[in-house]
Subunit: 301 residues, 2 copies
Amino acid sequence: MLVLGFPDYQEPSQRLATALNVSSAIVDIHHFPDGESKVRLPIGLPDTVVLCRSLHHPNDKLIELLLCAAQAREQGVRHLALAAPYLCYMRQDRAFQPGEAVSQRIIGGFLAGLFDTVVTVDPHLHRIAHLEEAIPASRAIALNAAPLMADFLRVRLDLPAPGPLLIGPDEESEQWVRLIALGCGADYAAGRKQRVDDRTVSIALPAVDFRNRTVVLVDDVVSTGHTLATAARQIGALGASAIHCLVSHALFTEDAEEALRQSGIKEIWSTDSIPHPTNALALADLLAQALPTPCPSRRST
Amino acid sequence: MLVLGFPDYQEPSQRLATALNVSSAIVDIHHFPDGESKVRLPIGLPDTVVLCRSLHHPNDKLIELLLCAAQAREQGVRHLALAAPYLCYMRQDRAFQPGEAVSQRIIGGFLAGLFDTVVTVDPHLHRIAHLEEAIPASRAIALNAAPLMADFLRVRLDLPAPGPLLIGPDEESEQWVRLIALGCGADYAAGRKQRVDDRTVSIALPAVDFRNRTVVLVDDVVSTGHTLATAARQIGALGASAIHCLVSHALFTEDAEEALRQSGIKEIWSTDSIPHPTNALALADLLAQALPTPCPSRRST
C-alpha cells in the first residue's frame, strides 16, 4: 500500500502513512497559466493506493482526482481509495428550488466512479443517514471525530464542577454534541438556527443558564464563521465566563477567524482535516483504522 | 431545442441560439464562499438541449458541466450537446514523462460520458487526427475556422500585389495557415518552434523575404503570447512593413496582449470563442451548422 499526498496536503498524508505503517509520496502537480492542471504519479505503484487530500475549494481538486485516478488505473492499481478528511458538496442533498442540481448525489456518484473506497470524517449529512447513499462506492465510510474530541476536551478542560457546557448552534449538531458531551462527561444543549442567506443566520439559544460557565461551541464545519460568531455574542451577553469553539473542519473562508475572535471566542480548536493554524487534533489514527489493509493473498490471484 | 448559456458566456450563446433559430436561457450559477458551485437549470426543458460554454480556465467549468448534465438528464433531456468553441485539455495527448496523466484522453472521456454531441472549433490536436479519438462521444465534431478567417482577411487586407504574407509560428500551424492562405489567395509559410518551458520558446523563421510585406501571424491558441511575440520581433527586424495577428482562441493569460503589442504587432483579431476585446469573428453560424436539429419524430416515440 502507498499513500499519495498532494502539494497542498503533504503533512496530513505523511501522518496517515505513518499511522498505516506504509510509504508515502507526493503527486506532482503543475498548474498551467491557462488554468489547466497536469498531474504525474510515481511509477511502480503497488496494488493498493490511497489518495489523501481534503476537498475544500474542491473544483480544481476534483478534476485533479479524476486525472490521478485514471492514471493510477492505467498503471495497474487494483484498489484505489480516497481519504478525504473533509469531503465536498455534501450540503446540497436535495433541490431546494425546481431545477437545482443535487450536487451531493452527482459529486458522490463521480467519486464512486473513481474510487473503490472513500473515507471521510464528519461529513455534513442532514437528510440522508449513511454516506453510501451519497457515495455509492464499494466502501464509503464516514468516521466520527466525536470520541477524539471528547478525549481532547477531557484533558483540555479539566474544570471543577459543573465543568464545561457544550453547545451546538443548531438542531443538526445536537446528536453529535451529545456524543462528545457523553464522552467527556459534560453538560450539553443545542440551539435552533434559521439561515437567512449564505452570510446571515439567526439563532435561538437553548434555555440553559450560561452564567459563569465555560462554554464550548461545537460544529462540524466553520465556513464564514457567522453561525458560531452569532451564537458566541448571544452566549457572552448571557454571562458565560469563557467561550471556546471546537470544529471538525476549519474551512474558514474570508475573515472567518477574525469574526470568531471578535465575537468573544477565546480558543479555537480544529482537527487537521483542513490545514489551518487552529489545528489541534490529528485525524491520522482515526483514518488509518478505516483504510483497507494490503491483502497479499489477492496479489497472487 | 434550447441553447443554455452561462453567466460568463451569455452573448455567444445568444448568438448561437439566433443562428439556430431556437430559444436560449442562462444557467443560474451560484458560487459559495467555500468554492463550491450550485447550478440551477430552467424547468420544462425540451428533448434536445445545447449547453454553450467555452472551457478556458476549465476546472470549475468542468465540474459545473457535470452538475448541469446530470440535472438535465434528471429533467428528461434525451439529447444533450456541448458547444464549446474553445475546448480544454487538448494539449496533453501523451505522457511526456512516465506517470503523467494523459489529460486529453481522460477529460475527453469525461465529456463523452456527459454529452451525446460535442462541438468545438480548432481544437489543439497534434498527434491524433480526429476529435473522436480524444472524445469518444456519439458525435464529436471539430470545426475549422479557416474559411471564416480567409473571408475576414480577404476583406480586411485587400492589398496591392504581392498582398499579405501569412506566417504560422511552428510546424503544427502549417496545414492550417495553408488553408487560410489558399482561401484568401495569400502567400504563406511556417516556422519551427522549440519550447524551452511554459513561458520560453525559440523560433526558426522560414527563409522568405519579409521586406516591405504586411505579415499576418496565425495561430490557434494564444496563451502567454510569447510564441507570437518572439516571432513578431524577429519578423520586424527582417523588414516587414506591418505585422498583425489572427487567432482562433484568445486565451490571453497574464500580460499576453501587452506582450504582443510591445513586440510590434499592430492589429490583433480573434474569434469570439473566448470573450475578449480583440474578438472580430463570430463563430455562431459555423457552430450552428454542426448542431443537431430538433427531430420532432423522436418525440413521439
